[in-house]
Symmetry: C2
């Protein structure tokens, strides 16, 4: 040691008050000299907090993980995390997930990519575990962070309308996710007055986007614009439009959503709605940590702004 007791070292490391400058310096020097790093398990056991939060990906085998969206969120989460807190990754479903999470192994949890009316977040919340959901959950009253999908889709659709298009279709996301519903609602609102009948739902994959676009063209060969609720689906839609001899944007204007890396290199480059995914992750983490630190008056949910990015497809 560095001439002081365990207690003093503990106080220094945890930044507690009532430590003399001399003692603090001595401890810091000793830490540097010994390459000491506090034992995570011991402090977790002794203190009442786990110094860890869980990131629960509620979709086992699947697209969300393979989505650049998730990667960006992950980056944001990590960036916001203080070095003291561990990030433990868990995937759902897992038989003992609820028991584990509410068993004091983590201080809180971030839950992402919920489907349908998954009771998981509400369950955890009821058990007293601080929780934040990434993306508005369809069921339950728990804190969440989401992009402003409704207004993003609204702005995208208004842009198409302002271009003079009148037969505007929509390739919507899955019905069982809020992100799918909210973007569809935004499109509906933007269509006000125009017939909003051309809708096809699809999963967030290029294949499904292609299938939906083909169905739309079969139903309405005269459509002159389409709002696709995700860039990754827009890629498939562009392929179909190309195969069927439609020029983009001359014959059919296309707007996507996400502004993923793919948007700029699509043929033609995609006009799309940008959401800042890294900020999404940072906000998620910030909200959770604030709650853990006992902050008062936190907003129950946070909506992050979106922004239309103009390129060539519309």
């Amino acid at each position: 040691m560095a001439g002081v007791s365990r207690s003093t070292v503990s106080r220094v490391i945890n930044g507690a008050p009532h430590v003399s400058a001399a003692a603090r310096d001595a401890v810091h020097r000793a830490i540097a000299r010994l390459g000491y790093s506090p034992n995570h398990a011991a402090r977790t056991l002794a203190g009442r907090r786990a110094n860890a939060i869980a990131l629960v990906v509620s979709e086992p085998g699947s697209r969300v993980l393979a989505d650049p969206f998730f990667a960006g969120v992950l980056r944001g989460v990590h960036a916001e995390l203080a070095g003291q807190t561990q990030l433990v990754l868990m995937m759902n479903p897992s038989d003992d997930l609820v028991a584990y999470l509410s068993g004091g192994h983590v201080d809180g949890a971030i839950v992402v990519s919920l489907h349908g009316e998954d009771p998981l977040p509400q369950l955890l919340h009821d058990k007293g575990l601080p929780i934040v959901v990434g993306g508005r959950p369809l069921a339950g009253a728990v804190p969440y962070v989401d992009s402003d999908n409704f207004n993003g889709a609204l702005e995208a659709t208004r842009h198409l309308v302002s271009l003079g298009r009148t037969r505007i279709a929509c390739v919507a996301g899955p019905r069982d996710m809020a992100v799918g519903r909210d973007r569809l609602s935004g499109w509906r609102r933007g269509m006000h007055g125009l017939p909003a009948d051309l809708v096809e739902h699809a999963d967030f994959t290029p294949q499904d986007g292609a299938k939906a676009m083909a169905a739309l063209l079969d139903r309405a060969p005269d459509l002159d614009a389409v709002f696709v609720a995700a860039d990754i689906m827009a890629l498939g839609a562009l392929k179909i439009l190309h195969e069927r001899g439609r020029r983009v944007p001359e014959d059919v204007a296309v707007v996507g959503f996400d502004d993923s890396v793919l948007a700029a290199t699509a043929v033609p480059p995609l006009t799309t709605v940008r959401q800042d995914v890294e900020r999404f992750g940072r906000t998620l983490t910030w909200r959770l940590l604030a709650e853990l630190n006992g902050a008062e008056g936190l907003p129950p949910s946070i909506l992050l702004p979106t922004e239309l990015v103009h390129r060539d497809s519309a």
Copy 2:
């Protein structure tokens, strides 16, 4: 409790021998009834193992995380992990990463997306921390798992040669990563006899792929095929070829690498080299856990097979 002592419970949970069937059943029933879940911190502190492995992503702000490749690996890692072991995510660089990792907080580490001659894995290995690197490291003698990039690229190139193409270019990956170098070597070998001068290096982004393709066309307007060392770059390459009026595959045949979700929906659908990323992650984890469990005679490194997938672009 269920009529037995702490020790017996511990033995049951850890599957130790010398426990009567009656006692085991009683404990299991009690566990189920109480919803008991053992405290991770306590067992880590008491036992000598941390019951956790680290996943170190050695690229802070970056593309690898946003790559479907990483997502697949993550899924594989998680699938292979026993429920007992936590997965702790860490990102490099971090000032105290080495101290933390070698401080007994984790039992082992998986390190992915190394650049250049990063000394990190060797450093950790020298400190006695079991480690496996995802993708052949350029420096150091540590266990690794990698796709057979060389033979994948070789097969891709031979396919182009067998098509009768003679001016075959290569959009290669970054020079400072083994994955970039190995795929380039495979292409060179496959070209045997043909002039292997048409090479442009690029980062694994569509933008960079486009830039490289444009440079290639400027240098050799007569090229009739190109091997692109990643699907994500091939997307950019296809865009340039389209803009410059080259038909694919009639004028220029294109083969990619990875068989990511993007390959099938490219225009035209991309012939590419498939690597099973989830298996990659599973293998990585399997190798690490085997070492942790004291397995003997483990192969120092493992090369996973690749497979050419025929679509329309070549």
